[in-house]
Symmetry: D2
Subunit: 329 residues, 4 copies
């Protein structure tokens, strides 16, 4: 079972990871975390919803927080380039036997609800209301100065089906992890926008959302935002890092848990990968973490994730070998 | 005369600015500047050519330096995604009345030599030999830690024709500058890879190359590389900055002149622009440089550029109004 | 005329530069500059005075701003260790023929007004009210995150008398500048606290205050505070830099002019100099600025300074040789 | 049992922590760690000794590494200002019943060997050969760019006697830790040079050296040096951090173990404390670590230290309460 060939001229153009929609129990606490501490910009808010974007984002939102009884991730958002691409996407998901439904979503154009073979609930649109980019509004910068959403990571037992489905839609596989001397896909890093990730699938009970990741400008922001989280009462939410990944992406990261346990990765660096000759980088388990330093991820990072609202997830694998495998990001 | 509509599904896929080919008089001096001081990686070298790449680049080269009697820029390199795209590109340039020629270029796949309506000599290919990315080879990092080529800027009187030609090939116009109350295009910032620039055209005598720009990781690298340039005898080559652009791109930059006068921009930050609703940002002259700080660019920055080898250039406009206009990047 | 020997066991213990007292025309504008933009902490304020300190300072103030009809520097503050040292200092200044007067200064202990042989109006005390250090109050950090006062620089024609007077009181000469092949002191850098400067005297019309200098944590703060100054309407106040000194101190600096023209240096780095074997570093004019990069200081930086309130100053030397000399910091 | 009063005019002038002398088993490995990776400068070396200094140090050495069969710390070095101070120090230690001996130490002036009431073997001198400061030799900077020695930390059961002894010699107590509602000194932070530490004593089996600490310029160096340690095979030597202390000093730190287990702290920030009104900051155990984030120190950090050569140490206290106490730095 080999890696599929890339599709360089897909039938429709999914462009990037777009946003996440989370249910949270206390919007005021979420605001204290995301806005007052991390530094996200409020694009809109009402009694029970908060729409946030990063400092460089000109689109309306990359995080939507809705009041709910139980924390859950409602949707992972993807963008297509045009309305025509959206119609073609709808047809493709439908003919693939996946559920599709047109919905109204505030501040977004026509919006498609569907899900992928891993069971990830998706929300796809071609347009969003625009907002001013804050890149030069220095007087509003604070916290981690989050720039933009970069990618999401999903836990699933269906890593290979997910990989094949996304690659058929033109996603490139930038890196992947297999057990030693095996072709079983443990984790796949898939991208459309020309850097290593838009969506990542890792083998674990699922479907669940492991994290949404946002770029921040510099290393000192990684350290500073932790100090600020501590001061603001969120110190226990610093789950892992600041540190360095010694596997796919090689990012300098910190992983946070928001007040409802949703995981946020802040990171500073990725590489550009656009060219056709960029082959997927294969990592065997024993290649990972060579020349590493720093603490290993805690159990919480290796086993926990946000449930998808209304989607049943399997059981987390807590065997030693699974935990070993899960050490990798 | 309005801005053309974007072409979301171009007939062929130019993906990014790829490389520059420069003639230099003394390869040892160039190596002292680019490799020993700025921190570029040598991919290959022979008696009279040096092939360089940035730390994150997996392609063979983003700078080619060839020994020559007189400094000049030989070619600006662009990448297409596939060999099929390359054939379609050749047909498009040819039927547009532009010269096309297939050549052999070391370490590159099939290579097309052509030029654009501004007279920029182009070199287009779909593939290059790959080299290991150095992103985790920390022990080799030094100088400015240059990451990758980002864009080139060309001086020309044919700004509008260049804009229309590139947009017809799927380039998006991220930002542009016009005189106050005018639609005359003074500068256009065109992109394919999802950030503000791949190629920029600015109104001045041309065609000439104003600069090639490379990303560096953090602000402290901007300051540090200047210190190092000073120590290594290249202090006079720090032409402008470190500073901040108060116009298109808003980059934190430093502009350098290499030992042959070729200009290099190092900068730390750009924003992502992918979505169809991202409208070109219009700057009138009087919008520029509001809320600015720091020195204005020196005359050299406003008027000088690298000649393209074998291409006649017009005369630089040294009138006051042109200089005023040229203040903008 | 050689350099005096250091006095390792002075009769009284002046410990450090302590504060500056400035007259400003509009306290609201000064607050917008120093507090809202640079990030100083307000220790106290009333109708016509503002007391500021840096983030790490546990003393009440390092800057005092008083409303006045004309901008001027009222006093340069020095600290002695104990009340006993203060009495001995008073006796020393008095027996040296210098004016001494005991005054009441808010938030300070017993305070001595005097002046040095250069005519610098001094305010010396052994104690000040304490305030909480803000070093861990990360949620209040903003702007340049100024840490503490470091030194002041005074313009005077009496460089040698000032040098001899301060060295006799135990100040160490860390560095000094002379014309080529000369022992005429052009600039002297004097210190008590174990880094290169507490008070600096430079040859020019005086006595005038050239600047007060404050430490900031990192290089990125140097660049960021300029961006913020621009946004907040103070962009023209960025007088020189960010840059690097290529002479005494080797600091990474930016020089600012406050709304009344008082000059503030922010810088990131100095070295420790405590040991008896640390000889004063001699710079001849032609040693300066070797291996430099970046813009030379503007005329304003070379010639302008704050008048001392009620103290007549000579005329600035605008001859070419003086300007040449004044290029050095 | 209260805190002693500070002695503002001590009989002799100890100025600062000066150096550490370590026995190591393999000088080549130590060089790979300290020089090639951390970035210390080699002042001198011979067959079995390596003399190192930081980039800003003008004195000959702050670390001396000697080949030995077993790892141990031979001496902690202190500096006095003058030869006269050295003679007075010798008299003071001798009349305090402590062993004193004049020795020859390479590159140092007259050198006194003695020990303090905690049993710390000390080496005191007034002068050392000078070497050029490297502050502007940017082309030699690499690794963590270590600037200078800042302080040493000693484990001992005799915290109070050590505190009283050092304070009687003019050391100021900047901060200290006691159990809740107790005056038993758990840890004392003592300084001469005007920032929080020159020598620290913490309650644990001793005398042993816990660590020597060196300043580095910026936060990004903290993260970068870890990456480099990993690449160079020293990743397991990153014992704790990069992180932030939530107790005395509030430093941003990383703790490393060298190839022989000697512990090195690299940190970026301390505050100035010179004034007489700066009262020692009292921390009760339960005050510590409030508003913290990040991992707690590993057992190794809490219990291990370098034996002093030829000095018997008590047993480390591994009871739960002691470990609790030892969580604090």
């Amino acid at each position: 079972m080999s890696i599929p060939d890339p599709v360089f001229r897909p039938a429709f153009n999914i462009t990037r990871a777009s946003h996440v929609v989370h249910r949270v129990r206390d919007l005021a606490k979420s605001r204290a975390f995301y806005v007052d501490t991390l530094g996200f910009v409020v694009s809109d808010d009402d009694h029970d919803t908060l729409y946030l974007r990063g400092l460089e984002e000109g689109c309306h939102h990359s995080i939507v927080l809705k009041t709910g009884a139980e924390p859950a991730c409602e949707r992972v958002g993807l963008r297509v380039l045009t309305e025509d691409d959206l119609d073609r996407a709808e047809a493709h998901f439908r003919t693939s036997g996946l559920p599709t439904r047109w919905v109204q979503a505030p501040f977004q154009g026509r919006t498609l609800h569907t899900s992928d073979p891993a069971g990830t609930p998706l929300e796809i649109c071609a347009s969003m209301q625009t907002k001013p980019r804050r890149i030069m509004h220095f007087e509003t910068f604070h916290g981690a100065c989050p720039q933009r959403i970069d990618h999401v990571q999903v836990l699933t037992r269906a890593v290979r089906p997910a990989c094949e489905f996304y690659m058929a839609m033109g996603f490139r596989l930038s890196e992947y992890i297999v057990p030693d001397n095996s072709d079983e896909l443990h984790a796949v890093f898939l991208q459309r926008k020309g850097n290593p990730h838009d969506i990542v699938f890792v083998n674990n009970a699922g479907p669940r959302l492991h994290h949404a990741a946002f770029t921040i400008p510099e290393v000192h922001h990684l350290m500073y935002v932790c100090d600020l989280l501590g001061r603001n009462g969120f110190g226990a939410g610093v789950e892992w890092g600041p540190g360095r990944h010694f596997g796919p992406g090689y990012a300098r990261f910190v992983y946070l848990r928001d007040p409802d346990g949703h995981r946020v990765e802040l990171f500073t660096n990725h590489y550009q990968t656009i060219d056709a000759e960029d082959e997927p980088i294969r990592w065997e388990m024993s290649d990972l973490n060579t020349r590493r330093w720093g603490t290993f991820p805690p159990d919480s990072w290796r086993q926990e994730g946000s449930a998808f609202a209304g989607v049943a997830a399997g059981h987390a694998d807590t065997s030693a070998s699974a935990r070993e495998a899960a050490i990798v990001r």
